[in-house]
Every structure is written in C-alpha cells, then in structure tokens.
Symmetry: C2
Subunit: 162 residues, 2 copies
C-alpha cells in the first residue's frame, strides 16, 4: 500500500494514463468499499435464501427486532424504503407468518407492525447468520486489525453525511 501511495505522489503529467488509472482505482477507498460491500451482500443473500428471505425482508425484520409497534411510514423512514416497497415486503412477511399488522388504536388509517412469535424465534438464527458472514469477511484480518477497522467504520458512519 505504501508503494501505491507513493506511486500516486510520483505522478506527473507524463505518467501514462494506464498507470494513473490503476493508481486511482487501487488507492480509492470508495472503490474498495463498493467491491467489499458487494462481496458481503452476495454472501448474505446466499445464506438468507436458506430461510426463503431476501435482503429487503431481512432489513425489515432487523428493524422490527430493534423496535416494533411502529407504523409502516416510520418503518420505511428508518431504512429509506418507499411506502409501496414496505407494503409489498410486509405482505410477503405477513404471509410467511413472521410479522403482523395490527390496527392502530388512535388512527384507523395507520397500521402498527409487529414481529410475530415465529418472527422473534427466527431472529437469533439471523443474528448468527450476520455473525457468520462477518467472520468470513474479516477472516484475513488479525484480532487487532478487526478492532481498528471497527473503530474506523464507526467514525465514518457517525459522520453527518453518511
């Protein structure tokens, strides 16, 4: 990596385009994030398929596990999923018996969404899946490296525009 970084600093107007392109790519944190996020998502999707779930369903279940008794609008806001997508994902999850829409006591046009017992029972398995995916993903790092990565990720995620 040091080699790469110094490569960037050695660039001049005469450096060939191909070298500049390669250096740009390999020194781009964004590019690495893109690729690695893709790897993680592919693995997660594959493992969720064993439960008959897609990523969207999983995200909703995780959100509800953290806090349920929310309206569909509230649910969608937390994960930036539009209302029509929420409707369809909940139709699927309700059909699968994992979530439940109950009538709101205050407003008859709102629903309150809950995990069912069956949904709650599934969550520990999904937590384990998340853990497995992360372990596989972080396998190339030492324990110390994992800790510093975790710290850096939290710092980046805490940033206002992130």
């Amino acid at each position: 990596m040091q080699q790469l970084l110094s490569m960037v600093f050695q660039m001049t107007k005469d450096t060939p385009l191909s070298k500049r392109a390669k250096a740009t790519r390999l020194t781009s944190a964004g590019w690495h994030f893109q690729r690695l996020a893709c790897v993680v998502e592919r693995d997660m999707s594959a493992r969720l398929a064993a439960h008959g779930l897609k990523i969207d369903h999983f995200v909703i279940l995780m959100t509800l596990a953290e806090r349920d008794n929310v309206t569909q609008t509230q649910l969608g806001e937390g994960i930036s999923m539009p209302n029509y997508a929420i409707t369809r994902a909940l139709d699927f999850l309700e059909e699968a018996g994992l979530v439940e829409r109950r009538k709101d006591a205050q407003s008859r046009r709102s629903h309150r969404v809950f995990l069912t017992q069956s949904g709650s029972d599934l969550m520990p398995k999904l937590f384990a899946t998340v853990s497995d995916v992360n372990d596989a993903f972080l396998a190339p790092l030492t324990k110390d490296e994992r800790a510093s990565l975790a710290k850096l990720l939290v710092t980046l995620s805490a940033s206002p525009d992130a």
Copy 2:
C-alpha cells in the same frame, strides 16, 4: 465502540431481542460497509451526472483507461458485467465519442475496444472526481486513520473470495 463490543459479550439468553438486534447491527462490519458504500456511490453518481455518465459507463472507462485494446468479452470479465450489458454501454459510450470499436485483426467476430482521444482527455477529470469523492468520504478521519484504513482495505480486497 468498546462499549458496543462489550455489549455483545454481556449478552445472555435473557437479553431482550431489541438490544441483541441493535448490537448485531452496530457491530456488523458488513452492515457498515453496505451503508458507507451506498453513500459513496450516491455521491459518485451525482458527480458523474455532470458529465452525462452513469456508474456503469464510468467503470468501463476506468477499465479501458487501465487497459484498452481488449475484446468485449475480456472487458466484461474484468468487471463481471454480462455481454449484453457491455454491448449497450459501449453503444452509449461510442455514441458519446468516448470509446471506439475496431475490427480485430485476427478474428472477424471480435471487436477491440479503445478509448478515443476525447475519452482519454476526459479521464483526468474523472480521476479528480474519484479523488473528490474519497476526500469527502474520508473527511472524518485523521491522516493516520486514513492510512490504516487504506491498509486494511487492501488486505481485505486481496483475500481470495473478495
């Protein structure tokens, strides 16, 4: 973060589901990668729009800048883009005068793809855009933190399954 990690270790069977869900999410490197990759891509897409380009076009241009005179099949393999997507993206880029398909000297059913002069001239601007996006993204980190993140990303990316 230390608090979070210790939170995970304090989990027992009696820990409420909501706490376990939150800890699972916040300690998941994959979850952070997903979110952050999304932030970066949104920023990149927005800036590419100024050039009338989408991410796919940008990826192809970067790939060709690094190495052109490749067949469409070779091009697609490098970036895992299927042949029909390559065909359409190249139609667009050729129309925009940024790339050129030339006949292969050996095989009359293959094309060799090149950046045009106009495409080459555009690349330095795209390198600068990549740089801007990364600078904005990494702004919350100190210089040292950026260096260690870079090192960790390279280690992860170098892994065989990544």
